[in-house]
């Protein structure tokens, strides 16, 4: 079985963001990058499936972006993926979800992957489009938002997370694509021996120009902070004084404290 897992490298979401020179995305200076959280679940599930099936089965991890994304690929290799693919694109942040999906589909089209894992969305763009669009482009069945996954003899039993804690159980035959939701599993931390082993694994580099033939279908006009709605009180200072101020406000404004 050939398995592909697609990952994105994103900034730490605790960061402060400001527009870059283009005005349509964030300034990268001073940001720390890591693997998109949703994709960690995708990598973990792909590696678990390989562990279930045996060593003859192979997991390829793919990421698109500038050279820094190799770090995310290395992490996935240390988690247990077998080989990496780096689609080199310094301008990946300017591509729209349709183009990103087209790049992945162009890579995967003639490779005969039985199963493709993606995160359900990225933490930075959050379009939730890429996985499903790759599946449509490749003509693969696809289901999304997985919080449960089981594989047996060519059939996936997936548990989709719906609103209000309800889940939907779906069966689909491979080849297929699934998108992973937070909580699907518990992603492992790479161990030191596995980090060392990963250094020997191959990372194939492919220039984006070899894969992308599609024009963007959306344009970003601006990137900016939300308009402040105001009204809220912001309290800053020393903890003891903050406690006094808050207790005063709660006594004044709520019936909870008397």
């Amino acid at each position: 079985m050939k398995i592909l897992v697609c990952i994105k490298q994103v900034p730490d979401m605790e960061s402060r963001f400001k527009p870059n020179g283009s005005g349509v995305w964030f300034e990268e200076t001073d940001l720390a990058f890591r693997m998109n959280e949703y994709d960690e679940y995708a990598v973990e599930q792909a590696v678990r499936l390989k562990e279930q099936l045996g060593d003859a089965h192979e997991v390829t991890v793919l990421s698109i972006g500038p050279d820094r994304v190799v770090e995310a690929i290395k992490k996935a290799l240390a988690m247990g993926c077998d080989r990496g693919v780096h689609v080199q694109d310094p301008a990946a942040s300017l591509k729209d979800p349709w183009q990103i999906a087209a790049i992945i589909a162009a890579y995967a089209r003639d490779k005969g992957f039985d199963l493709i894992f993606t995160g359900m969305q990225s933490q930075d763009r959050g379009s939730a489009q890429v996985g499903v669009t790759v599946a449509e482009d490749l003509g693969l069945p696809c289901t999304t938002t997985l919080v449960g996954f089981a594989y047996d003899n060519g059939t996936i039993t997936a548990k989709r997370e719906l609103e209000g804690g309800v889940k939907g159980v779906v069966r689909v035959k491979t080849p297929a694509l699934v998108t992973c939701q937070l909580g699907l599993n518990v992603p492992r931390y790479p161990t030191l021996p596995n980090i060392m082993k990963a250094k020997k694994k191959e990372i194939e580099a492919i220039p984006v120009g070899d894969l992308l033939r599609e024009e963007a279908r959306t344009a970003t006009a601006s990137f900016h902070p939300p308009a402040k709605k105001g009204g809220g009180i912001v309290l800053e200072g020393e903890v003891g004084a903050l406690v006094d101020q808050l207790v005063g406000i709660l006594k004044d404004k709520t019936a909870v404290l008397r």
Partner: protein, 303 residues
């Protein structure tokens, strides 16, 4: 301008989010039509044209077939926009329709913007203004971002026959886990977020909840990490609450969490990050390390 609104129906019920699509269409202006894979017995309060397929016959989750029905309707109505709610139904189906139409998709719209649409990004900390570059566009709107609008009237129903199966086999629904804690009845909820740092710190938040006479709540990451049981989760996939006082401890304020608590009467957020999106809904934002502030507040309340 014409919008085709894709209504939502699950477990035999028309979902209220369908009316948020009407709220969006009202802001957009122009005409609309609606498509619903639902039932004759539960028609929406919508006076326009309703394309109706029978969910009992085509399945509530059968994206291949639903896509086919939508494309058929698009061919008849020729809308400028096909609009979904950004939900487990909408984000699953919308890209399939966009791919088939070779149309732009704009996801999780929070507002109309000059010549385009405003969407959230970077975990709701930032916004982008996005413009479709194709003549038709597929849109998903953020749940809760547009007002629930019941246009009223009786729809003019155009029945759609659905044929064929699909590549997915829907097995069934699993109900939400039995709620150990009914947060919807709590007058005070004190919730722990990722900012509490580790599982061992959760009792600090639980102690504050007790001192305020309330219940412990939690954000999704804390539940996923196993620090707090799912029965305490507040948000889209947990419980939707509206207590008299909600205290968010170390919660940045992801959309899914905000949707579950923003109707609380009074909201206090304790967060180190002054720019955290939770500040958008908070009546009071205390900029502090929750692990210092919460114990100090608990001690003060005990006096």
């Amino acid at each position: 301008m014409k919008a085709l609104l894709i209504g939502e129906y699950r477990e035999g019920k028309l979902l209220d989010t369908t009316y948020e699509l009407c709220g969006f269409a009202a802001q957009l202006g122009g005409e609309s039509a609606m498509l619903l894979v639902g039932s004759e017995g539960q028609l929406p309060d919508y006076g326009g044209t309703l394309y109706l397929a029978d969910a009992a016959a085509c399945g509530e989750y059968n994206p291949d077939l639903h896509k086919k029905l939508i494309l058929e309707t698009v061919a008849r109505e020729n809308p400028d926009y096909v609009v979904f709610v950004h939900s487990s139904y909408g984000w699953d189906l919308a890209p399939r329709v966009a791919a088939a139409l070779k149309a732009a998709q704009v996801s999780e719209i929070v507002a109309l913007a000059d010549g385009g649409f405003e969407v959230g990004c970077c975990n709701a900390k930032m916004r982008r203004t996005v413009k479709p570059a194709t003549s038709k566009a597929v849109l998903t709107i953020q749940a809760g971002a547009f007002p629930v609008t019941r246009p009223g009237g009786t729809p003019r129903v155009e029945r759609l026959a659905a044929e064929g199966s699909g590549t997915l086999e829907f097995v069934g629904y699993e109900p939400a886990e039995a709620k150990g804690v009914d947060l919807t009845r709590a007058e005070v909820i004190v919730s722990a977020g990722r900012g509490v740092g580790k599982k061992e710190n959760v009792p600090v938040i639980a102690a504050l909840a007790k001192a305020l006479g309330g219940e412990l709540g939690a954000s999704r990451p804390v539940v996923d990490a196993g620090w707090v049981d799912h029965s305490h989760q507040v948000g889209t996939t947990g419980q939707t609450v509206s207590p008299k006082l909600y205290v968010a401890c170390g919660i940045s304020g992801a959309i899914q969490h905000l949707a579950g608590m923003k109707k609380s009467d009074f909201i206090v957020a304790i967060n180190k990050d002054k720019d955290a999106p939770i500040g958008e809904v908070a009546d009071v934002l205390v900029v502090a390390d929750v692990l210092q502030f919460a114990p100090a507040l608990t001690a003060r309340l005990a006096k």
